[in-house]
């Protein structure tokens, strides 16, 4: 097997746990879409062309509440703004790739693929083929999401209360699993505590913009804590 296909398959394999988490979430998206009154074609098109689970979930809720289309698009923008932070993180690793690579990798950039791939890039080992790893993770997530959204659509049609099974628990469970490997230092712990507390204090902000505000608060707290740690270490050395 060539290095490229090895990378591709290990990207897909390392994403496997997150496929497990995305399956109930895709199913409840499909089920809710039907209940909300979205046509089947539209529900599948959203999975195929938007491909952003939590914003699809929020959008379906807004469709059910008969919110104006402009408001749904604005909310999508704010809920997905975090992906720009992800692309900023991957920037140094992708800048040598041609646009034919950058466009699909951007289209497929999800929380899950990002969380798996960033660990791969941070290994700083054979970076020349690392984008194949990201591609493998992306395609695994994409196919899995299409499949389970479709199953959810079919289920939601037949079993109207499928949306009350609590399948939405999959998102927090998956995210907790993804957060833990990042929390290895004191500044990182402070960052997580701050962002978590801020997320509860910003609940009243419109269009779920509290996510971005809380994330920025957490990042700032992490940076301040990091500088504090460095200064203290400096003093010990003196």
């Amino acid at each position: 097997m060539s290095d490229q296909s090895k990378e591709f398959f290990s990207g897909a394999r390392d994403t496997f746990p997150l496929l497990l988490g995305a399956f109930p979430f895709g199913m409840i998206y499909g089920a809710l879409a039907v209940t909300a009154g979205l046509s089947k074609g539209a529900a599948m098109a959203m999975s195929a062309f938007v491909f952003a689970g939590s914003s699809q979930f929020v959008a379906v809720g807004l469709v059910a509440a008969q919110a104006p289309v402009a408001m749904i698009i604005l909310t999508t923008f704010i809920v997905n703004l975090r992906h720009m932070l992800y692309s900023a993180t991957l920037l140094p690793y992708l800048k040598t790739l041609p646009q034919v690579w950058r466009i699909p990798l951007a289209f497929w950039l999800t929380d899950e693929t990002f969380a798996v791939t960033v660990h791969r890039y941070q290994l700083n080992d054979s970076l020349a083929t690392a984008h194949w790893y990201q591609l493998g993770s992306s395609i695994a997530m994409y196919l899995n999401w299409q499949f389970w959204s479709y199953i959810g659509l079919v289920l939601g049609d037949r079993i109207p209360d499928a949306s009350s099974w609590g399948l939405d628990v999959a998102m927090p469970v998956t995210f907790i699993g993804m957060i833990i490997p990042f929390v290895k230092s004191r500044p990182m712990g402070i960052c997580v505590l701050t962002a978590g507390a801020a997320s509860l204090m910003t609940l009243s902000l419109p269009y779920r913009s509290g996510i971005m505000v809380s994330a920025l608060a957490g990042i700032a707290a992490g940076l301040v804590a990091e500088n504090g740690c460095k200064k203290r270490q400096g003093m010990v050395r003196v």
Partner: protein, 106 residues
């Protein structure tokens, strides 16, 4: 598909892809300030926790801090499983399993 749905999906696709691609498009021409580079590593956990905490404490949009909230119980069990197993697949499987078992029991 109705026109309203078409406009909605086209708009959602436009903003989502725009967000994901904007920096990649100019990747070779962008130089990040050192303090931004230093902040990048905090981004993933900060964003993920900001989505997770409300989803666990206010699962249906209202505060629900009690043992009768299966989202909260599953969140605590998932965290413990993550810390002790250090294995993502086991963590997610235990978390999902705990949620559905607990929901059946209560």
């Amino acid at each position: 598909m109705r026109t309203r749905e078409l406009v909605m999906i086209a708009g959602m696709m436009g903003v989502t892809f725009g967000i994901r691609y904007f920096l990649f498009a100019f990747a070779d021409r962008i130089r990040l300030a050192p303090w931004i580079e230093a902040s990048l590593k905090y981004i993933p956990p900060a964003v993920l926790i900001a989505i997770t905490v409300p989803a666990v404490l206010l699962p249906k949009g209202d505060w629900h801090i009690s043992m009768s909230n299966p989202y909260l119980v599953a969140g605590v069990i998932t965290t413990a499983a993550g810390i002790f197993t250090k294995n993502l697949l086991a963590t997610i499987a235990i978390g999902l399993g705990a949620f559905f078992i607990y929901r059946m029991v209560i």
